[in-house]
Symmetry: C2
Subunit: 275 residues, 2 copies
Amino acid sequence: MVEGLSINLATIREQCGFAEAVDLCLKHGITKIAPWRDQIAKAGLDEAVRIVRSNHIGLTGLCRGGFFPALEASDRSKAIDDNKRAVDEAAALGADCLVLVVGGLAGASKDIGEARKMVADGIAALLPHARASGVPLAIEPLHPMYAADRSCVNTLGQALDMCEQLGEGVGVAIDVYHVWWDPDLAREIARAGDMKRILAHHICDWLVPTKDMLTDRGMMGDGVIDLKGIRRMIEASGFHGAQEVEIFSADNWWKRPADEVIRTCVERFRSCCQP
Amino acid sequence: MVEGLSINLATIREQCGFAEAVDLCLKHGITKIAPWRDQIAKAGLDEAVRIVRSNHIGLTGLCRGGFFPALEASDRSKAIDDNKRAVDEAAALGADCLVLVVGGLAGASKDIGEARKMVADGIAALLPHARASGVPLAIEPLHPMYAADRSCVNTLGQALDMCEQLGEGVGVAIDVYHVWWDPDLAREIARAGDMKRILAHHICDWLVPTKDMLTDRGMMGDGVIDLKGIRRMIEASGFHGAQEVEIFSADNWWKRPADEVIRTCVERFRSCCQP
């Protein structure tokens, strides 16, 4: 058993389907995963639930809901409907949370303030269903380089302000890749702990140079992020859930055998991630 | 005359030397520029000063000083010496400020807090010479995607905190490319104005998608930044200096005739940048 480690299945999405990925994790002693909705859909929700239950797998999250901003009200409604289905899937799978990548600017709009309001409104509309389903919503602040097209929530502080505004049932997923640079990181992690809003802790590494803005994430230890230091802050704030490895790596890890990838995740988790 | 517009000469660095760039700006009615030190060195400092004075050119800044963090104390000293020479050049050219790109992590260090301290220490060591030379230092907060390798000062708020700590003689260069995503932007611009620390306003645009993290900046109007909105904030805070166009564009604008680039800068400045 590898205690405290979860594998986000995006890390081996090019190599494995859902069932195969679960088998591989179990082989390496890992009993926590975070799948993506397209992976679940491909396996079939019922079959995925069966696999999860029969193997006593824990889900540190389901990826992902979100993408709330849109110019037309009808499109914003459609997004909320789709997010409700994501909540239902997370509930069926017993996931610790539904991760929200909230979306960027609405269409051709340049009004990031308006996009942020649409996000808050969208989560507010989703929350009653999420609460009734027992599924916490995890706002994942994304790196500012994704502000235009993926997420207009770009700092932990901003995500926590949104949580305060929205009330119970919503928290944050802290991904080191997105927040490691933040001058307010220590303060905001402590605040997130005080608010009891930390729902997930994602890890990977920031490579220098980074060759692609989306698919050049590094394996823990290969980049510049102080992974032990950030974990120390997170544990000090009261969160002791698993560290979830999420690596998008088109030119490296997605091209290697999945077994090698998972073995390396375990090794690096042990050597680079635990304070 | 095009009032209120400055051209950062990086925008046509692939096409023009210093003298040619100045001639081209003058031809388009632009009397403000911001050159880079390598461009000045190539022209020769004395010759550059002669060109600037004889044509009554104003410099909205000299690019650039900075890059303070280093593992060895001797390397940090060398950086300060080089910055002193940059101050001397800025003074000779009568530049409004010396722009500082402060540098990222020191060597293989993962301690961004330590890098930030090295930056503050480096600027503190440079300040007496800058003050004596009458050259304001402009800390340019860079986008968080450059935190590792170019600048560990990544938000306007962080730069202003550093200014408060350092005292008189240091302010900020606000480049829309680096700060447009910041949820605290309006508040921090107002604060910068109250502190009378705004020394420069740089413009370009954020393209979607952005294909390269360094050299895929857009022409004003081609991206998603609310340029008029940000200028409105900056003017409301009391800064009415020129808007300085700084575009790094390896695959587009650096490949076009310089005359077309400058003509487009003027057109877009008129249509997209003035509130």
